[in-house]
């Protein structure tokens, strides 16, 4: 028990990473190549931290405001960015991250610049983080089963077919940006309330790559994809603690290998494999029954 308790911060981090990975998962599922989650997370984190430390707003209210702020920011970003595709969209959303970062660095009156915001009350622990993951995961699961999830899937796979069936790509991409922004706003705020302080650099290139890797590694169709991706990429550095010097090398190599051999991600590949196996077995059973009867 005491040995497990030592891992509590790690579990908490893994759960918070899952929330942020969900924010990256939604656009990828909808065929939007957005890397903007880090920017939305920064908006949520700073909104929550500023409200809590300067104005003494209760954490729950801060989190709600951060979710709304992230969602609105996502909607505003979607207006120019949703019409872009592929690498252009990736680059433009990356530029958005850059803009938010420089704003956080330079608008010192509001953000205290590079020093960041400190003395944020510790309001998020393992329980709160777990509740957030279950809540967001459940909501995304329901959306995935709904008409909107069907729209995401067909737009991601083939936009031409989607429009031929009457799907509005603009509407679905807007929904994806808003959801991504709102979820990242939640993740950012919870991160702020979990770690006592935030600085602009946490929401930079490292976070962009980490979130992208989590979803690509885990899978971008099933909701469990980002969950598994977050577990692996949060736990891996811990497992590799012995190889301090080579840690990044091992991690990078693992990522390259998994993308090469499991391009759909761990979860989606496994699910596809299980499904095929069940179908083949059912088929074999039916054939056998036919022969014997």
């Amino acid at each position: 028990m005491s040995s497990l308790a030592g891992y509590e911060p790690l579990f908490e981090l893994a759960l918070l990473n899952m929330v942020l990975a969900f924010s990256q998962y939604i656009p990828l599922r909808a065929g939007v190549f957005s890397l903007g989650s880090a920017a939305f997370a920064a908006v949520g984190a700073y909104a929550a931290a500023i409200l809590a430390t300067r104005y003494g707003v209760p954490p729950v209210v801060c989190v709600v405001i951060a979710v709304v702020a992230g969602g609105i920011f996502g909607a505003l970003a979607a207006v120019p960015l949703a019409r872009l595709r592929g690498v252009f969209q990736a680059l433009a959303t990356l530029a958005l991250v850059q803009i938010v970062l420089s704003t956080a660095l330079n608008w010192t009156a509001l953000t205290d610049g590079a020093l960041g915001i400190n003395s944020i009350p510790k309001a998020v622990h393992l329980t709160e983080a777990a509740i957030a993951v279950v809540f967001v995961g459940y909501v995304l699961h329901v959306i995935g089963l709904s008409a909107i999830g069907r729209g995401f899937d067909i737009i991601r796979e083939d936009e031409t077919v989607a429009v031929s069936l009457g799907y509005s790509v603009r509407k679905h991409h807007m929904i994806a940006f808003v959801l991504s922004g709102a979820i990242a706003g939640l993740g950012g705020a919870m991160h702020a309330f979990s770690s006592y302080s935030i600085t602009p650099n946490e929401f930079g290139f490292h976070m962009v790559v980490m979130l992208l890797a989590m979803v690509v590694l885990g899978g971008r169709v099933s909701v469990f994809g980002p969950v598994v991706g977050a577990i692996i990429l949060t736990g891996l550095p811990e497992l590799l603690r012995g190889f301090q010097d080579y840690r990044s090398v091992v991690q990078g190599a693992l990522l390259m290998a998994s993308i090469t051999f499991l391009p759909s991600g761990v979860v989606d590949t496994t699910r596809g494999w299980l499904r095929r196996r069940a179908l083949t077995r059912g088929q074999a059973g039916a054939d056998a029954a036919e022969v014997t009867s």
Partner: protein
């Protein structure tokens, strides 16, 4: 008034016309054949009608309304559905999910109800799944419902394309070589379904290579060669038209 009328329609690629001065029409309740050698411009015509290619010249009228400049999504809402010659399915998704995607235009529950997972959204999903299963049954594909679409034969994949297009409940159905690669028995089974669909009042434009199939099924046939209409009429007279025979032999 025709369900579909093309008036002087043309489309250029790199300055050269792939389709030119095309006048033709498709009537409700009837199957209109569009035949012609490879590269004649048949798929280009379908893409223009469906809004995936802009017209260089001319007009497309749907039930009398000029729809030449409408987007594909709007045209689909107006009742145009099509299948793709180069099969385009979500390969990893099940047959059932591929067909279900075609019912989008019949979804009535609001975006908010879907986002919140309200019971109305789930009820609608169940109702659409029931309609999906009816289509699967009609095309004899119930046993394959759970298989990934990409794992099936081309013949079955073409059937999925057709079910998905029919799911939209179109007024005008564009079929781009729907029985390519099927044997006669399979093709005639589908022919019976096309006839039923037409009998329900849908206008069907059927692109096909197989002359026996066209002769048996089409009420009216248009022949395209090098982007121009070279003959039209009932199947028998068109197939025996010397210009048509020449265009096929010459290709």
């Amino acid at each position: 008034m025709s369900m579909l009328a093309l008036q002087g329609v043309g489309r250029d690629f790199g300055g050269l016309p792939a389709v030119d001065s095309l006048n033709m029409s498709a009537e409700r309740g009837r199957i209109t054949g569009l035949i012609g050698p490879n590269g004649a411009g048949k798929t280009t015509v379908v893409n223009m009608i469906a809004g995936l290619l802009k017209l260089s010249r001319g007009q497309v009228l749907l039930d009398g309304e000029d729809v030449s400049t409408r987007e594909a999504q709007e045209l689909s809402r107006m009742g145009i559905a099509r299948t793709f010659q180069n099969i385009r399915l979500v390969r990893d998704a099940s047959v059932r999910d591929n067909v279900l995607a075609g019912f989008h235009l019949h979804e009535k529950t609001s975006t908010l109800a879907n986002l919140l997972g309200l019971p109305s959204a789930f009820r609608e999903r169940r109702a659409l799944l029931a309609r999906t299963d009816e289509l699967l049954d009609r095309f004899g594909m119930t046993a394959m419902a759970d298989w990934p679409a990409g794992s099936l034969s081309y013949g079955h994949q073409r059937r999925i394309e057709m079910m998905r297009a029919l799911a939209t409940e179109p007024r005008l159905l564009l079929l781009d070589e729907p029985v390519a690669g099927m044997n006669d028995a399979e093709a005639y089974k589908l022919a019976a379904i096309f006839r039923e669909v037409a009998d329900d009042g849908v206008a069907i434009l059927l692109i096909e290579h197989n002359m026996r199939f066209v002769r048996r099924l089409c009420d009216h046939v248009c022949v395209l060669a090098s982007g121009r209409l070279i003959a039209e009429g009932d199947a028998e007279s068109v197939i025996n038209d010397p210009r048509v025979i020449e265009s096929y032999l010459g290709s």
